[in-house]
């Protein structure tokens, strides 16, 4: 009577054994049939008592918790990627699982990762997801379960599954969008760190150019810090002499595009009339709110989060596509283009 009611309390009230209660409450069990009247009695008793199974007891016995561990580097500095978390949680809930989330800080120190993992393992999580807010490589820590999935991250060793955006294809599509509008001098305002995303997007940029037989002009590939101020400085691209000046700029991300808008405005030019711009991320509160609204590539955070859970739960049906890579498998998720008003034909 002190705490919450247990199976035994329900059994007593229904006048049956705990075995029967357990069987009834857990649905049919192979070969075991309980007649409807008994079932009814049990259900009534459970309801009356407000019985809720103790998942720790159940988990102990079944040797599995209905919980998934979600380790991420940092949830706060890059708010737009949290939809991975939200989607993962929703998918977990849909499958009667709960999500333990733990942040390990940025950059993630291996010992902190290790501790987080140990703690999760002690709590008997049935699966682990290791997420990063920015696409990057991560070194698996010792004794990480085989079933662990890396989200928005690629495992550098082991035979794990990794889920990442199809950066290269997306960058190619972004630049192709510009090409199709008639642009031929297209700059890439790149991030100045050697992130995996930067390399891949640059590749995609080159791919698209090659497709149109355009020789890349090194002056049109500039690297700046990936924030608004870097974007403002990217405005210098416009100061190039007439024939060399780009008519369109593909930005590494939306924040740089936001800065670039400023640089363009300060020079008295207009987007998209004088210059077309394509961003990357479709960052909330930014891309759609710029003036004019920014055409950009959407990072499929929700799809990625959902796929991670489907994968660790052995469900993955929604976005098939795993390909071998290193010892493991990788899934590249498409980044759809979001067309808004920052792209037009080049001025003549």
């Amino acid at each position: 009577m002190t705490g919450r009611p247990t199976l035994k309390d329900v059994a007593q009230r229904a006048g049956v054994s705990v075995t029967t209660v357990s069987v009834v409450l857990n649905g049919q069990r192979a070969g075991v049939r309980v007649p409807e009247p008994t079932r009814e009695r049990v259900r009534k008793a459970a309801d009356a008592l407000g019985y809720r199974p103790n998942q720790m007891a159940r988990g102990l016995r079944r040797r599995t918790s209905q919980a998934i561990g979600f380790i991420s580097d940092e949830v706060t500095t890059t708010p737009f990627a949290v939809s991975m978390l939200a989607a993962a949680q929703e998918e977990a809930a849909r499958n009667d699982h709960l999500l333990f989330v733990v942040n390990v800080g940025k950059p993630a120190r291996p010992d902190v990762m290790q501790r987080a993992m140990d703690s999760l393992v002690e709590h008997q999580v049935s699966a682990l997801i290791v997420a990063r807010m920015y696409h990057q490589e991560v070194e698996p820590v010792a004794s990480m379960p085989e079933s662990t999935v890396f989200l928005n991250a690629r495992a550098t060793s082991g035979s794990y599954r990794s889920i990442v955006p199809a950066e290269r294809a997306a960058a190619r599509a972004a630049v192709r969008e510009l090409l199709e509008h008639g642009h031929r001098r297209i700059a890439f305002l790149d991030d100045d760190t050697n992130t995996i995303a930067s390399g891949l997007r640059h590749q995609g940029y080159l791919d698209a150019l090659a497709e149109y037989d355009i020789a890349p002009d090194p002056r049109l590939h500039v690297r700046m810090p990936s924030g608004v101020s870097g974007g403002v400085r990217g405005g210098e691209l416009i100061d190039l002499p007439a024939g060399q000046r780009p008519t369109a700029i593909f930005c590494f991300n939306d924040r740089m595009a936001m800065g670039l808008y400023r640089g363009v405005r300060h020079r008295g030019l207009k987007i998209p009339d004088d210059l077309s711009v394509v961003g990357f991320d479709d960052q909330e509160f930014i891309a759609s709110e710029l003036d004019p609204p920014l055409t950009t590539m959407r990072l499929p955070h929700r799809e990625m989060g959902r796929l991670a859970v489907e994968s660790v739960l052995g469900l993955d049906t929604s976005y098939a596509g795993w390909t071998e890579q290193g010892g493991g498998e990788i899934s590249l998720l498409e980044c759809p283009i979001v067309r808004r008003d920052s792209v037009a034909s080049p001025p003549d």
Copy 2:
């Protein structure tokens, strides 16, 4: 040998009983002393085996999990508030707890809330935090534990604790900042829904005016949708005839300020020379990135998240200040002003 090592395995290897292992591994127990050599032997065995306690078994026995449930409405649509979650998780980790997070969608339906709570309770969480991404009132669901804390939300009944930003005081400070710069015609560009934040910030606005003996001019209080486009429309305030036009505008949030900047620019005016602006939220990637950077009131999300965990864990030392309210208690956290470059003296 199949699964992970248990206490029994450690006991065997160390040549002692499980009782001894348990006592050693859990630190001193009152009245029980194990001689150092034995302790040493046990620790060695545990290390060698890579023993990790099974928290489900421990929890079952101790009748407490080391887990806290964090229920929030939506984590994705309002990315800036996720630092509440991050801070809560960090504080939980600091106290050897894990955080279960579950989203219940927005607006949160009572039945979904109920299910989330049930699931968390089944998992034997030792405490519950109910968070909202925007400050609002929430109806506790039936049988919610007494110790539940409402975060960025006020419980409408019961004797719960609620943690919210000190909106009114913050709005007052925001307007006072303008007053101190010499402004006397100050508008409030308000949200057009009847949220609790809107009401409170309006109060604070009136408080500050009253402090300077300024009669509020109803034409200077306008309500618009709380996004960028609402902010743009707020620019109409500037179209008021000369003597009635405000020299400064206090915005309900940073996104409206972002829109207002646009409205001001389109009219060929400059901030802060022609108009001073103060925002609210200190939203990441917005406030500091506007041109000029926006002076605004910072919502203390991290402090709130941390306090919530401290409170449910019975620790709260860091931000004392609970006051009675209704049947429960409330803690109002200060929103510090973040001075940037959008405030100057009024033009003459």
